[in-house]
């Protein structure tokens, strides 16, 4: 049932804690370097999103700085045919799944709800903001796949705050009863806006899994390899045994809750400093260096790649405009109601646009 100390593969300085565990991951050097690339891309894209918001190109953005290893490590453990239900703070998973980042950011631009990315191609769901409401969706989706006899699994991301919600509980209980091939991935970043963990709950999150009849795992969320390891195991359990897993990844939200938040009002500076020393990317970089898996050129190339990458994102975000007014009406129903069609005519007449057929 897991352990009270979070599972880790790497020590704070990137040192390998147990070589057998490392080797058991079966990751080749190229894959390990890819993980690093993803971490760097995630951080850089995140910073760019913050910048875009400051410059007025996004309405708001929820920075994921400090949480890259949790998102990247978990997403990297999935197969392309697995399905992911995100919240809004998993840009690392967005990147690993190959989702178009600018399209994803359209949620934050207020261009379209949920983002404009191709959900079915990347099997990466819509941005979901009503906290924890997507957890039962993930369970239903997972059971839907199981009923079709497919061996894919479904992963839902959520935060520590989400564990207080009824939908978290009801979803996990359903998962146990219906043997859903699902992974509940909690990014415990210690804050829900201004509410610290100890005011969110008085008990250990990962231990709750037992009450639903499936395993719970506590993992060092700033150790990308540990996150990868536990997620891969959970995915195997889901695929082959139809057993759900609750993963609690201990990490830390280095930024404000969103660009609209002022975290200095509630967060002690020392806490930030302490967690800055536990930076997940730095730690993984040291590991690659220690193990001589990457040279300085690699690190430079990764940084350069990230710059090129965000330049494209930036351009696409800035260039994107609002959808056509027709979208307001045409996307509601597949069989629109007469009421709505009448409203559509009225609105388009007002928008002084030619009225295309519905």
């Amino acid at each position: 049932m897991g352990q009270a100390e979070p599972f880790a593969v790497l020590g704070p300085e990137g040192e390998v804690l147990d070589r057998r565990t490392l080797e058991g991951l079966g990751l080749e050097a190229g894959q390990l370097r890819d993980l690093y690339r993803f971490l760097v891309l995630a951080r850089r894209a995140d910073a760019e999103a913050v910048a875009l918001q400051r410059q007025g190109y996004l309405a708001v953005y929820g920075p994921a700085r400090g949480q890259e290893a949790a998102a990247v490590g978990s997403a990297y453990a999935l197969r392309p045919d697995d399905f992911v239900f995100p919240t809004y703070r998993e840009i690392g998973a967005v990147i690993v799944r190959g989702v178009d980042v600018a399209q994803f950011l359209m949620y934050f631009k207020g261009a379209w709800h949920g983002g404009e990315h191709d959900v079915l191609k990347h099997r990466f769901g819509l941005v979901t903001v009503p906290v924890a409401t997507h957890i039962p969706h993930a369970v239903g989706y997972a059971v839907g796949c199981r009923l079709e006899g497919r061996d894919c699994c479904t992963l839902a991301y959520f935060g520590d705050g989400a564990t207080s919600k009824g939908d978290f509980h009801e979803g996990l209980n359903f998962a146990g009863v219906f043997r859903a091939p699902v992974i509940f991935f909690c990014q415990n970043n210690r804050w829900a806006i201004s509410v610290p963990l100890h005011q969110q709950t008085a008990g250990p999150i990962w231990r709750r899994a037992e009450g639903y009849g499936f395993p719970g795992v506590l993992v060092d969320g700033n150790d990308v390899l540990a996150v990868y390891a536990v997620t891969r195991e959970a995915a195997a359990r889901a695929r082959h045994e139809h057993t759900p897993t609750l993963i609690e990844a201990l990490t830390y939200r280095m930024g404000a809750h969103t660009t609209a938040d002022d975290d200095t009002r509630y967060r002690p500076a020392e806490e930030l400093e302490e967690w800055a020393r536990r930076d997940p990317i730095e730690r993984f970089r040291r590991f690659l260096e220690r193990e001589e898996l990457a040279d300085p050129e690699f690190f430079e190339a990764a940084a350069a790649e990230a710059e090129t990458f965000v330049a494209g994102v930036r351009e696409a975000v800035i260039g994107a405009g609002p959808k056509d007014v027709t979208a307001l009406f045409d996307l509601v129903f597949e069989n629109p109601t007469p009421e709505l069609l009448a409203q559509r005519r009225e609105a388009l007449a007002l928008a002084e646009e030619p009225v295309p057929d519905a």
């Binding site: 819509l126 957890i135 039962p136 239903g140 989706y141 009801e170 979208a327 069989n335 109601t337 007469p338």
Partner: protein, 324 residues
């Protein structure tokens, strides 16, 4: 022709859907072995197996949320809320997701889900078993809201609702569950949004849906004895609403009384009244009146007859508009 009850009509519709579409799933509290507390799902688990017809844990928000996930994965969930009063825990999932998913995903994802809710009073139910929550749904854009009033309509409209690509809230008037009607349960491809004139009349139109339609017919019967011919319009679906049929009748009679069980304030009667005014103002001889439940919680069973629109209350309103 055979006689069927509404419960039988609904049961037949579900059976038909489960047969014709292997993607249809039926689930909720006690719908499996028990066949539902009203027996609407009787025998379905035995016929289609526990993968397609099954009981869930007692959690309405998850029943709907789980259904959303199944729908996203390509299934067609038909879920039951055991009673009107226990549908509220699912409102967040309905409002935030069921109603919005197609829109927010720009049509990439659909939730063709049916949420069946036994609703309304008049069955001497204890607290929380007699509510009329239709407005919570009609006001939530993105949902269709269907309310049959007869056994055959229940059959046809449930069939259409399950086939519908958009989410449907299907409200089943409990007080009519055991009402009988003669006719065959043969799929007729009945569209949504078509009202039906249950009785023709010339002096005034009674507009209603669900359990109150038969009450309106009783009132019309009584009025006819005094030479007053009431037209009774059964809306059958509130979203979409057959505004044309409503206005046709309103223009013809010039007088309209709306009857519903739900409380007056912000009841769907207000919507009907507003549409009549917007579309038939010049034909109106009197204001549209509303005969409804009062602005109180649904009362204890022993007092419900004082709360529900009675024939007397309906005729009083008719009298007022006729004398106007």
């Amino acid at each position: 022709m055979p006689e069927v009850t509404m419960v039988q009509g609904l049961n037949a519709a579900l059976r038909h859907c489960l047969r014709e579409d292997p993607k249809v799933l039926v689930f909720g509290e006690d719908v499996g072995k028990l066949g539902g507390v009203f027996r609407v799902t009787d025998g379905l688990q035995a016929e289609f197996g526990p993968d397609r017809v099954f009981d869930t844990p007692l959690a309405e928000s998850a029943i709907v949320g789980f259904g959303v996930g199944l729908a996203l994965a390509g299934w067609r969930p038909v879920v039951e809320m055991q009673f009107d009063g226990f549908s509220y825990p699912a409102l967040d999932q309905v409002i935030s997701h069921v109603a919005k998913y197609r829109y927010r995903s720009r049509g990439q994802l659909r939730v063709p889900m049916v949420i069946r809710i036994p609703f309304g009073g008049g069955i001497r139910g204890v607290e929380h078993h007699s509510e009329s929550p239709e407005v919570y749904y009609t006001h939530t854009a993105g949902l269709k809201v269907v309310v049959p009033s007869t056994p055959l309509d229940a059959f046809q409209l449930l069939l259409t609702s399950v086939r519908e690509p958009d989410p449907v809230i299907f409200l089943e008037p409990k007080s009519r569950y055991w009402a009988k009607e003669s006719g065959d349960l043969v799929p007729a491809g009945e569209p949504l949004g078509v009202a039906r004139v249950r009785r023709e009349g010339t002096h005034c139109t009674l507009v209603s849906w669900g359990g109150m339609v038969s009450r309106c017919l009783e009132a019309a019967e009584a009025a006819a004895e005094d030479g007053v011919e009431l037209e009774v319009l059964d809306l059958r679906s509130l979203v979409p609403m057959d505004t044309e049929a409503l206005l046709r009748s309103a223009r013809k009679t010039g007088r309209v009384v709306v009857v519903h069980e739900a409380p007056l304030t912000s009841g769907f009667g207000g919507e009907v009244a507003a549409r009549v005014m917007e579309g038939a103002f010049d034909h109106l001889q009197a204001p549209v009146l509303r005969v409804t439940g009062y602005d109180t919680p649904y009362p204890p069973a022993l007092l419900e007859d004082h709360y529900l629109p009675s024939v007397d209350r309906i005729l009083l309103a008719v009298d007022r508009v006729l004398r106007y």
